[in-house]
Symmetry: C2
DNA sequence: AATTGATTTAAACAGATTTTTAAAAAATAT
DNA sequence: ATATTTTTTAAAAATCTGTTTAAATCAATT
């Protein structure tokens, strides 16, 4: 009986707790989320949280790792795809992130809070750190620069700009919505528009060579 | 005697507690900051926190409001200055924010966490909400568009881009430092460079009319 | 129907955390 | 110097929070 409990994803108590915990931890962080609140929101007895997950910390780590993996999921494959150009990769990456963030708008704040709290501890344990440095995309980047006779003094700005333009609006969405009165739908439409716009802006920057 | 307690800023017990609280609340948030830790770090008895500030929540609200005001401080004056052009205002705003964020690098995460937690509650109480909509800068913006025959379909993107490019790198700084090995000094140099770069990028975007 | 094991519950526990109290110490005023 | 007020302290009280316990319920198996 114990064997097949986790074979199919069910709407079991265990799953209910985990989903509520994911929502609350992601939204409010570890310290502000109380085990009693998770239990209340899932409609289960407090003891069941410890019965299924042993401890609050255990449950949090589970969610945390899943959130982190969601955040960096499938980047490596995109970066190493031999069938897409440099520009296409940028476009695909941005589009991929915008889709993911529309589905998980609280993820940016969670991830950056977590990185802030754990300077490098767990980021390195996720094992993506050094993989990124040797991707096919980096090769294409060099080729792109050579072909177009572009000299970039500090590519760090480009990297920052890309993630800033893509991710930051989601972190700031409560402020933006509050200031403009936009609904979530209208905000998401705006983000959809950015799939096209951000790559155009980024390549404008590259060509301007302002670094 | 009660009267002049707050007249001159002293290194009194009250001030010590407040400064430690500011640092810890800003870095770790309300729930993760324990009154004992504040007391220990300030080298004072725990009871003194309640003696001077009545409660943890009270103390937090004090810090929170000051942080929020720091974040939006002097914007209005910049926006309404009749002696600067539209472009100069953008440059001054960005330069102002970068200077402020180099001094207070934890502010972005604090502010956005707070806005996330309190959807609109206190943001409106700060009283800056509607002032911004009727600034001299907005007039200049319209004139700028007319003079240069520019039609911007969605100026929201421009607003988002400006704050994204300026503020986001600070929120992401632990990640950036971890991934690049940059020291705080090197990171700050990068931010200083952006004072010139961001306005150039923004005006490139405006002129491209890609909206 | 009885047995077994898994799940759930209410209650209590233990430790952490915030707040209060009452007395001592220090500073200030008379 | 004495009295008064302010500040500080140690201890306790009150509350909150994560975890455990032991019994009850449920589901499946024999």
């Amino acid at each position: 009986m114990i064997e097949n409990v986790n074979i199919l994803p069910n709407t079991s108590t265990e799953e209910k707790i985990k989903e509520t915990a994911r929502r609350m931890f992601t939204k409010k962080g570890y310290a502000a989320t109380k085990t009693r609140d998770i239990a209340d929101e899932s409609g289960i007895n407090i003891a069941l949280l410890n019965y299924y997950f042993r401890s609050k910390e255990n449950l949090y780590e589970l969610i945390m790792i899943e959130n982190m993996q969601l955040f960096i999921h499938s980047i490596i494959e995109i970066l190493n795809n031999k069938n897409t150009t440099f520009r296409e990769k940028i476009e695909i990456l941005i589009s991929h992130y915008i889709d993911m963030l529309i589905k998980n708008p609280d993820l940016p704040m969670f991830v950056f809070n977590e990185i802030n709290a754990n300077p490098q501890n767990l980021i390195e344990k996720l094992g993506v750190n050094k993989q990124i440095l040797n991707t096919y995309m980096l090769q294409q980047w060099q080729e792109y620069l050579n072909e177009n006779k572009i000299i970039i003094v500090n590519p760090m700005h480009l990297f920052m700009n890309t993630i800033s333009l893509t991710i930051f609006p989601f972190a700031a969405s409560p402020m933006i919505k509050n200031r403009t009165g936009f609904s979530t739908e209208k905000f998401n439409d705006l983000m959809q528009e950015r799939k096209k716009l951000i790559p155009e802006w980024i390549f404008m920057m590259i060509k301007s060579q302002n670094f």
